[in-house]
C-alpha cells in the first residue's frame, strides 16, 4: 500500500468519527464536488435571467416599441415598452451574464471542479480552501453584477465590450453606478477566476494518481488545463482595463478620454487582447467534453489523442496573436490588419484538426444516440458552422461589410450557444449520475434536446441572412431604416423561434429537479466508461475513493479493445499480463 493511501486510510477511519455540520457541507464547503454543484447552480440561475433579457431584446426587434408582455408591472411609466436606454441595458447585460456568469461558471467552474480531481485520481484540489474562496468571490461578483439593475440610472448599457469613450463618460449612456458596478464586478470576478485557475493548474501538475502520465489524462482534463492557463494570463489584462475604466469614471483619470490626453482605442486593445483568449476559454472545455463523450457513445478510441491535445495547445498559443480581427475597422494599419487576417485563418487549422478527429472517432463506431451523445454531436455540428462563419469574418475584405451586423451575432451564437451551451448540456447529462447519484429521465432529455436543436437553428441561422442584408447589431428599431424594412418578417420569425427556444428549456428544468430528488439511483458506471471518476461511488464521498486511490495503467479511451472481453477497459484495471513480463 502506498504512502498516500496509507494516510488516506487513516483519514477515512478518522472521518467516520467527525461529521461536519450543514454549513460546512453545503455552504462553505471545501469539497471540490460541492463547489462544482454550487457553480452549476449559479450558472443555471444566471442563465434564466440572461435568457429573459434575450427574449426582451428579441421582442423589441420583432415588434419595436410595443409593450413587452409581463414587463408592464415593472416598467410602469411606459406600460412595458422598452425605452432605448433600457434596450441597450438589456443586450449589454444579456451578453455579460451569459459569458461571465453562465458559461464560465458552468464549464470552467462546475465541470472544472468536478472533473479535474476525479479524473486524475486526486482526492481534492491542491488548495481546497482557496477553491471555496474562489466560488464565494464569484458569487459576490454575481451579486454586485445583479445589483446594478436596481441602482438609479439603470445598469451598464455600453455593450458587453464597453467601448470607450461611450463607457468612460457617464453622460453618454446615462448610466452612472450601473457601469461602475459592471467594472467592480468584473474586477472581483477576475480575482476569483485567478484563484480557480492557479488551483486547477497546480492540481493537474502535482496531484495525479500513480500512473496518470500527462498523456494518459482524459482530454477534458487537458482542455481544462489549457483553459486555466488562458484564464490565468488573459483575465488580468481585462482586470487592469476595467480598473482603468473605473478610475476614469470615478476618480477623474484620463486613460480612455481623449479630452484629457487619453486614448479610446487603448480600451479596444486591452479588451480584445483579453477577449479573444476569452472566447477560447468558453469553447475549449466544451471541446474537451465532446472529446470525452464521443468515444464513450461510439464505443471507439478517440481518433488522434495526441493530435487533439496538441491542437488545443496550438489554439492556446495562437489565441494571443489574433485579437486584432475584432478591430479591422478601427483604423488600424492595413498591413497589420493583413497579419491578423492570416493568423486568424491559421487558428482555424487546429480547430479543423479537432473536427476531423471527432468525425474520425465516429467513423465506423457503434453509435449509441443517448442524450449526452446527441448534445455532443450537436456541439460538433454547430461548432463547424460557427467556425466557418468565423473564417468569412476573418477575411478583411468581407469583414468590412459584415462587421457590426447580425452576421456577427449569428457567428457568436453558433459558437457560444451551439458550441459551449450544447457542450454544457452534454456534460450535465453525462455527469449528472456521478454528480448527484441519480439518472436523468431519458424521455424528458429527448424532449429537451430536439426542440432546442431545431429552434436554435431556426433562431440563429436566419441571422446570417439579415446580417448580410445589412441589419446592424444593437439597433433599437429596425423599422427606422428603410433598407431594412423588407426583411422585417425575418425578425418576427426569429423572435417566434427564440420564444419557442426559451420554452424548450422547460423540460430541462423539470428533468433536472425531478431527477435530483426522484431520479432512479445511478449505478457506479452507467455509461460503461473508462475514466477514473466512474470508479468512485455515485455521488463520490468526501475524498472521493475509499482507502486507496486508483492506479492508472493505460490511456482513457480503450473502447472495444482486444485486451478485454467487454467493450471497455477502465484506466484503473490492471493488465492481465504483468507489465514487466510483457516487455521481453
Amino acid at each position: 500500500m502506498s504512502a498516500i493511501s496509507a494516510t488516506a486510510h487513516a483519514h477515512t477511519a478518522h472521518a467516520a468519527h467527525h461529521e461536519v455540520g450543514f454549513v460546512r457541507t453545503y455552504i462553505f464547503s471545501t469539497d471540490h464536488k460541492m463547489i462544482a454543484r454550487q457553480f452549476l447552480f449559479l450558472g443555471l440561475f444566471m442563465m434564466i435571467i440572461g435568457g429573459l433579457l434575450a427574449l426582451m431584446v428579441r421582442w423589441e426587434l420583432a415588434w419595436p416599441e410595443t409593450p413587452v408582455p409581463g414587463l408592464g408591472s415593472i416598467l410602469t411609466e411606459t406600460g412595458g415598452i422598452l425605452e432605448p436606454s433600457q434596450y441597450n441595458m438589456a443586450f449589454t447585460m444579456h451578453a455579460t451574464l451569459m459569458i461571465f456568469f453562465v458559461i464560465m461558471p458552468i464549464l470552467a467552474g462546475a465541470f472544472g471542479n468536478f472533473c479535474i480531481p476525479l479524473m486524475i485520481g486526486a482526492r481534492d484540489m491542491a488548495f481546497p480552501f482557496l477553491n471555496m474562496l474562489s466560488f464565494w468571490v464569484a458569487a459576490l461578483s454575481g451579486v454586485l453584477m445583479l445589483s446594478g439593475f436596481f441602482v438609479p440610472g439603470g445598469h451598464a448599457a455600453a455593450g458587453w465590450t464597453s467601448y470607450a469613450p461611450l463607457s468612460a463618460v457617464p453622460e453618454y449612456t446615462g448610466t452612472n453606478w450601473g457601469q461602475n458596478l459592471w467594472c467592480i464586478s468584473l474586477f472581483v470576478l477576475g480575482v476569483s477566476s485567478m484563484m480557480g485557475a492557479i488551483n486547477y493548474i497546480t492540481t493537474i501538475i502535482n496531484m495525479r494518481a500513480p500512473g496518470m502520465k500527462l498523456f494518459r489524462m482524459p482530454l477534458v482534463v487537458w482542455s481544462l488545463f489549457i483553459t486555466a492557463i488562458l484564464l490565468l494570463l488573459a483575465l488580468p489584462v481585462l482586470t487592469s482595463g476595467v480598473a482603468m475604466l473605473l478610475f476614469d469614471r470615478t476618480l477623474g483619470t484620463n486613460w480612455f478620454k481623449p479630452s484629457g490626453g487619453g486614448e479610446p482605442l487603448l480600451w479596444q486593445h486591452l479588451f480584445w487582447y483579453f477577449g479573444h483568449p476569452e472566447v477560447y476559454i468558453l469553447i475549449l472545455p466544451a471541446m474537451g467534453i465532446a472529446s470525452e463523450i464521443l468515444p464513450v457513445f461510439a464505443r471507439k478510441p478517440i481518433f488522434g489523442y495526441h493530435a487533439m491535445a496538441f491542437s488545443m495547445i496550438a489554439i492556446a498559443f495562437l489565441s494571443w496573436v489574433v485579437y486584432g480581427h475584432h478591430m479591422f475597422v478601427s483604423g488600424m494599419n492595413p498591413a497589420l490588419g493583413m497579419s491578423f487576417m492570416v493568423t486568424t485563418m491559421i487558428i482555424a487549422v487546429p480547430s479543423a484538426i479537432k473536427t476531423f478527429n471527432w468525425l474520425g472517432t465516429l467513423w465506423g463506431g457503434r453509435i449509441q444516440l443517448k442524450v449526452p451523445m446527441l448534445n455532443a454531436l450537436a456541439f460538433v455540428w454547430m461548432f463547424v458552422i460557427g467556425g466557418l462563419s468565423g473564417i468569412f469574418m476573418a477575411s478583411t475584405p468581407v469583414d468590412i461589410y459584415i462587421q457590426d451586423t447580425y452576421f456577427i451575432v449569428a457567428h457568436i451564437h453558433y459558437v457560444v450557444f451551439g458550441g459551449s451551451i450544447f457542450g454544457a448540456f452534454a456534460a450535465i447529462y453525462y455527469w449528472f449520475p456521478k454528480m448527484f447519484g441519480r439518472l436523468t429521465n431519458t424521455a424528458l432529455g429527448h424532449l429537451h434536446f430536439w426542440p432546442t436543436f431545431v429552434f436554435f437553428n431556426l433562431t440563429f441561422f436566419p441571422m446570417h441572412i439579415i446580417g448580410v442584408g445589412g441589419q446592424m447589431r444593437r439597433i433599437y428599431n429596425p423599422l427606422q431604416y428603410e433598407f431594412l424594412q423588407h426583411q422585417q418578417h425575418w425578425n418576427v420569425f426569429i423572435t417566434y423561434s427564440a420564444l419557442l427556444l426559451g420554452l424548450s428549456q422547460i423540460p430541462f428544468v423539470i428533468n433536472f429537479f425531478w431527477s435530483l430528488f426522484a431520479g432512479q439511483k445511478a449505478p457506479l458506471n452507467p455509461w460503461n466508461s473508462n475514466t477514473l471518476e466512474w470508479t468512485a461511488p455515485s455521488p463520490p464521498p468526501h475524498l472521493n475513493w475509499g482507502p486507496t486511490v486508483p492506479t492508472v495503467y493505460r490511456g482513457p479511451y480503450e473502447y472495444t479493445s482486444p485486451e478485454s472481453r467487454e467493450d471497455f477497459l477502465p484506466q484503473s484495471q490492471p493488465p492481465l499480463v504483468r507489465a514487466g513480463a510483457a516487455r521481453h
Binding site: N206, P210, L232, M244, T253, W255, L266, T551
Partner: protein, 226 residues
Amino acid sequence: MTRVLEAPPRHRPRPSRTTGQVPPPPPPPGGDDGPDGDPAPQWAVLDNVVLATIFFIGAEVMFFTGLIFSFWILRLAAPVWPPPLQPRLPLGVTGVNTLVLLASSVVMVAAGRALNAGDRGLAVRRLATAAGLGGLFLLVQGYEWVRLIRFGLTVSSGAYGATFYTLIGTHAVHVFGALVWLAVTLLLAARGRFADGGTAPFRACALFWHFVVALWPILYLSVYLL
C-alpha cells in the same frame, strides 16, 4: 487531513525525525502504452505552494503588462512628455528608495540561507530587516505622494497624473500585500514552522517578494527616468 491533500513529496521519503520509520514506497507505475515517457508525478518537482505562487506571479505579470503598456501608449501619443506646467517627479529620493527596496531582496536571500542552515534566530532577524526595508520604501513613497499632491499633481490632472498614480499606486498596494504576507511568514518562522526542512511556504513568500521588488526598477525607469 492535510497530508492526503498535499502533492507527493519532493524527494524520496526520508526517515521521519520522530519515529525513524521510512514510509512505504509508492505503487509501480503500471503498464506501458507507448513511449510517452512522462512519469506519473511520484515525486513532485515543486511544492504546491511554490508552483501556485509562480503561476500567481504569471497572472500579476499580465496585469502589470496591461498597465505599463497603456502607460506607454498614452505617453508616446502625447506631444510633449512630461506635459508642461506639471510638477516634476522626485528622481533622487526615489532613486535612493529604489536601492532600499533592492536591498530588501538581498536580505531576503540571506534569510533563506539562514533558514536552510537551521539558524532560526538569524532567519527571523533577517526577515524582519527585509520587512523593515519594505516598510521604509512605502513610507518614503507616501511622503513623496503628499508632496506631489501639494504641488498640484492629482489623479485628474491629465494623462500625466492619471498614469503616475495608477501605476505607482498599484505597485504600492502590491508591496503592502507582500509585506503582510512577509509578516505572516515571519511569524511562522519564529514559531519554528520551517524547522523540519519544509520551507515551501517561505520560498513562496520570498518569490513573491522578489517579484514586487523586480517590478519596481521597470516602473522607476518607465515613469520617472525615461
